[in-house]
């Protein structure tokens, strides 16, 4: 055997050894202390506490955390492995969360439903049992509504709020129920996934989440930093049902409330801006030296960021107002033209539910508020599916044109825009997506 052969064998053996080592380290079935990603002494919610594992073996996690939040009991280990269940034994109706070793990427599973987060911290729902043609329904126990297929795309806040409301997610193939998955614990698991991904940062939890008042490791001191304030606001729009409309049409009916929320935040940021620019402001004095330092250090950077945010939010505010009025106009147009008086009242509601993914009550309210609602059966026609597309296309065209106009008007704020000449059919997006994008882009920066 030559030296060359020997060297080759050595390299091969080293490679094999290292690869086997790597596989052992990443094998989820093998206990590896490096898989610890969470500090179990940091409470996930008020009342949760760290406890000792009753270990008899030579290895394992020495501690875990257990608690009760939003009606579900939970326990999690330092490696992120968690169980959520309405039963204190964590034995029935369980959401089980497992994390990829050495990462903050976790998935929650119940039945065939798997929850995960994407790079933008959006929740992804996948259903192993789902086949083409299957339909999804959300049931609250007494009635059920069909969920849109986009439930399998990164969840928009409205759909996330819908699933977080509880009940069951039902998969139907034809009229046959394939699987019924309880949504109990959905909101808690979603919050947990985000919390883990954010490395136990409380700022990603929903606004009404029962966050402990004080936390170990001095986090209480840093939670008041401007950066955390900003982050803390971000998910409020994403997941908090109380601050957002669950569906676009509901937002229309409650547009004043939505605008008020944005205005509130605007005011809040203005106050923050003034406090930051004033080194002896009242807030600084209240926060004490530690917080004072955390506020003053990034002040210059934050000043610019906050200015931009104010500008964007003001712009968004005007956008939303104009969109609401335009959309109401479009709806009136639809009722006057597309749907006309040939449709029954139920068919109109069905159309609105299908086309705009709103609930039937909201659709009914819209039709009634429009004033064109009539129950004259003789004048109603069955809606033509192709007519739906025309109507939708008309709405999208109108919205996109409006957006282009607004975008041109805001170029001085360095908001990325497209001119109408650059638009094509692939750039169209639904109203729901549009609103989501407006909220996200304006509030996440």
């Amino acid at each position: 055997m030559t030296i060359k052969h020997f060297s080759g064998l050595s390299i091969l053996s080293i490679y094999l050894f290292s690869s086997s080592l790597t596989s052992a380290q990443t094998d989820p079935n093998t206990f590896t202390p490096d898989n610890a990603i969470l500090d179990t002494s940091i409470s996930f919610a008020i009342g949760a506490q760290e406890a000792q594992q009753s270990l008899r073996s030579s290895f394992g996690w020495a501690t875990f955390q257990e608690g009760l939040v939003e009606g579900v009991y939970f326990r999690f280990d330092p490696d992120g492995y968690a169980r959520f269940s309405p039963s204190p034994r964590l034995d029935t109706n369980v959401f089980e969360v497992t994390c990829t070793p050495r990462t903050f990427s976790c998935t929650g599973q119940k039945g065939s439903m798997v929850l995960s987060t994407n790079a933008k911290n959006k929740i992804l729902v996948s259903l192993a049992e789902l086949q083409d043609g299957d339909r999804l329904f959300v049931s609250d126990g007494t009635q059920e509504i069909e969920a849109p297929a986009r439930i399998l795309e990164p969840l928009i806040p409205q759909l996330e709020a819908l699933l977080s409301a509880g009940g069951d997610l039902i998969i139907k193939r034809g009229e046959t129920v394939i699987e019924t998955i309880s949504l109990t614990g959905f909101s808690s698991v979603v919050a947990y996934l985000r919390w883990v991904a954010a490395r136990q940062d409380y700022s990603v939890l929903p606004r009404d989440w029962p966050i402990p008042n004080a936390s170990p490791n001095g986090q209480a001191a840093t939670i008041a930093s401007p950066t955390n304030w900003r982050n803390q606001n971000q998910p409020l729009i994403v997941v908090d049902q109380s601050t957002i409309a669950p569906l676009p049409t509901v937002a229309i009916s409650k547009n004043d409330e939505g605008i008020e929320k944005v205005q509130d935040e605007l005011q809040e940021i203005r106050e923050l801006l003034s406090q930051t620019s004033n080194p002896v402001s009242k807030v600084d004095m209240e926060l004490g030296q530690t917080d004072n330092k955390s506020l003053s250090d990034p002040a210059a950077e934050n000043l610019v960021q906050l200015s931009l945010r104010i500008s964007k939010i003001e712009n968004t505010l005007s956008e939303i107002s104009s969109k609401f009025s335009d959309f109401e106009t479009s709806l009136s147009s639809i009722n006057n033209n597309g749907l006309n008086t040939h449709e029954t009242h139920e068919q109109k509601i069905a159309f609105l539910v299908d086309a705009f993914e709103i609930d039937s009550d909201t659709a009914d309210m819209i039709l009634q508020s429009d004033g064109s609602n009539t129950h004259d059966e003789a004048q109603k026609i069955k809606p033509d599916p192709s007519n739906h597309d025309d109507v939708l296309t008309q709405i999208f065209d109108q919205l996109d044109m409006d957006r282009d106009v607004d975008s041109v008007a805001t170029t001085d704020l360095q908001v990325e825009t497209q001119t109408s000449s650059n638009l094509n059919s692939q750039d169209y997006q639904s109203l729901t997506k549009y609103f989501a994008s407006v909220f996200d882009s304006s509030l996440s920066n």
Partner: protein, 562 residues
């Protein structure tokens, strides 16, 4: 004076004279006798009988010097001491035909609170299938013993271990030697390296061995196998003490080595004055050592007997009380009565601790070295063990689930489960160390199945035997078990499982593993008598009859309770 008969008559004065003369004579005589006696006594004092230190006339108690043997039943009542059985390959072919198994002895308690079970253990040579299982189980230790330290990994190739699992390795080693799987040079090499390493282990705060050690380096580590210290476990140490006593008694040439290991340890905080066992852990906030009572019904008594084998007085730890019973399939299953919500310690009822008591100690008291194998001097332990067996057989008969429950490792999270007969108020509760109910991890534990098979010769254990005896990976060892819900084998290999399986097989050949101590004085009792170390470290004196753990009985279940 002359009377009418012509004879003279004595006067009263003469009588007085005569009496006085006699008295004087008596006094003179007594004086002479007394003087002679005094002279005789004084003469004897000038020639005293010498009193030898440690001899019968030694006024100082020899006990205080530790050079009297521990009192055992054979020493106290003169009964014949049990004999260490020969290795399997050295047994005569008719060895088992001569065994008295007490098949005609009526079951129940004796007047001395000994207990004769209604079941008998299996005895005989190993069959070919059993030998294959034994060889495979020993392969685990051949594969996963670290050459540098002589320590065996607790679980597969994960390089950590506890004293509990090290005791399992010692069990495997003794079994392999006695079953003739290895010869004496190999046995001596392994045991010497192991004991030397254990003697050199850095103790937890200079008291007792840390809960976990790294098997490659011998360094004390935490549960994540990183350098650190956790505390010590009284239960783990108790089991380790059982096997140190087994090795010392079986192989007297290792006695000094064994003693020297234990004479480095400080037991001052492990056994309380009232005889309870205490473990230790580190307070997370203050970093100080916290001692807390350790052990629940089952394990606590087993560990208590381990300590008692070395002279410690573990009176309360050996008591069953406080205990309650739960009626499961007609059997009153005993469980620890200390409420977990108050004492923060779970009261798992599993098979393992009863098996270890039966296999290793024969359900006997530590001082018993003479009763027949079928008479169990720790009576209530044997009777409770029968209940543990019966409830599992009943479950099989009523539900069809083969049942041999124990704590066991599992592949992947949660890595370990307490697969219990009863815990937290629920029968057949399978829970993780943090308390999650995980019925999918319920399994027929291989070690429990083979242990039941060895101690209860019944139709049911024949079924368990068929399920387990070929449950192995030929090159690695015996699998941990067979999932109850049909997910197949528990594909993980552990020292505890393979050690107990080897012990079960050895028990079939040799009976109770612990054999009597055949020597007299022990270094364990005589060392450091010239210093205060024995007092500071709470080393005991040789136990005498007054120190024996009492033989007790509890009410027997006469009929099924539904």
């Amino acid at each position: 004076m002359i009377n009418r008969h012509g004879k003279t008559r004595k006067s009263a004065g003469f009588s007085l004279f005569l009496i006085g003369f006699v008295l004087v004579a008596l006094v003179v005589l007594l004086y002479g006798v007394g003087s002679s006696a005094r002279a005789l006594v004084l003469a004897q004092a000038e020639d005293p009988i010498p009193i030898f230190a440690g001899g019968d006339r030694d006024k100082l108690p020899a006990l205080m010097r530790g050079n009297i043997p521990a009192a055992t039943t054979s020493r106290e009542d003169g009964s014949a001491q049990r004999q260490k059985p020969p290795r399997m390959c050295e047994m005569e072919s008719d060895y088992f035909e001569k065994l008295d198994r007490g098949l005609n002895v009526k079951a129940g308690y004796t007047l001395r609170n000994e207990y004769v079970r209604k079941y008998r253990d299996r005895r005989g040579f190993l069959t070919e299938r059993e030998m294959t299982a034994a060889k495979t189980a020993w392969l685990y230790f051949e594969n996963f013993t670290q050459e540098t330290t002589g320590l065996a990994n607790s679980v597969g190739n994960y390089p950590s271990t506890t004293l509990w699992d090290t005791a399992s390795y010692m069990a495997g080693l003794v079994s392999a030697y006695e079953l003739c799987l290895i010869e004496k040079p190999e046995f001596d090499r392994r045991i010497t390296l192991l004991l030397t390493t254990i003697k050199g282990l850095e103790l937890f705060r200079k008291e007792l061995p840390n809960k976990v050690y790294h098997t490659k380096t011998g360094a004390k580590v935490d549960y994540t196998n990183k350098p650190g210290e956790i505390g010590f476990s009284a239960l783990d140490i108790g089991r380790f003490l059982v096997w140190m006593r087994i090795i010392k008694n079986r192989y007297p040439y290792l006695a000094n080595t064994v003693d020297s290991v234990l004479l480095k340890w400080d037991f001052s905080n492990a056994v309380s004055d009232e005889g309870l066992l205490y473990g230790a852990f580190v307070d997370k906030e203050s970093g100080e050592t916290v001692y807390s009572q350790e052990g629940r019904l089952g394990y606590e008594e087993y560990a208590a007997k381990g300590f008692a084998l070395w002279g410690f007085k573990t009176l309360l730890a050996h008591r069953a009380e406080p205990f309650l019973t739960a009626s499961i399939f007609g059997v009153q299953v005993p469980y620890d009565g200390r409420d977990p919500r108050i004492f923060h310690s779970q009261n798992y009822v599993v098979t393992e601790s009863y098996l270890q008591d039966g296999l290793e100690l024969g359900f006997d008291l530590p001082h018993d070295d003479s009763t027949p194998e079928f008479v169990h001097s720790d009576g209530w332990r044997a009777e409770f063990a029968d209940r543990i067996y019966e409830v599992q057989e009943n479950r099989w008969r009523r539900t069809g689930f083969m049942t041999a429950r124990s704590e066991h490792n599992v592949k992947g999270p949660p890595y370990f489960t307490y697969d219990t007969i009863f815990s937290d108020g629920y029968p057949w509760n399978t829970v993780t160390p943090r308390g999650d109910y995980v019925p999918d991890h319920a399994a027929v534990a291989a070690k429990a199945a083979l242990g039941l098979w060895a101690l209860w010769e019944t139709e049911y254990t024949d079924v368990l035997y068929e399920a387990i005896i070929e449950l192995f990976e030929p090159e690695t060892g015996m699998f941990e078990g067979l999932y109850e819900r049909g997910q197949g084998r528990v594909e993980i290999f552990t020292a505890n499982n393979n050690g107990i399986i080897l012990t079960s097989l050895l028990h079939k050949v040799q009976g109770t593993i612990l054999t009597p101590y055949t020597g007299d004085t022990e270094v364990w009792y005589t060392a450091y008598r010239d210093q205060d170390i024995r007092v500071r470290r709470n080393y005991p004196d040789p136990p005498q009859k007054d120190d024996w753990l009492p033989a007790l009985r509890h009410s027997i279940q006469e009929k099924a309770d539904f």
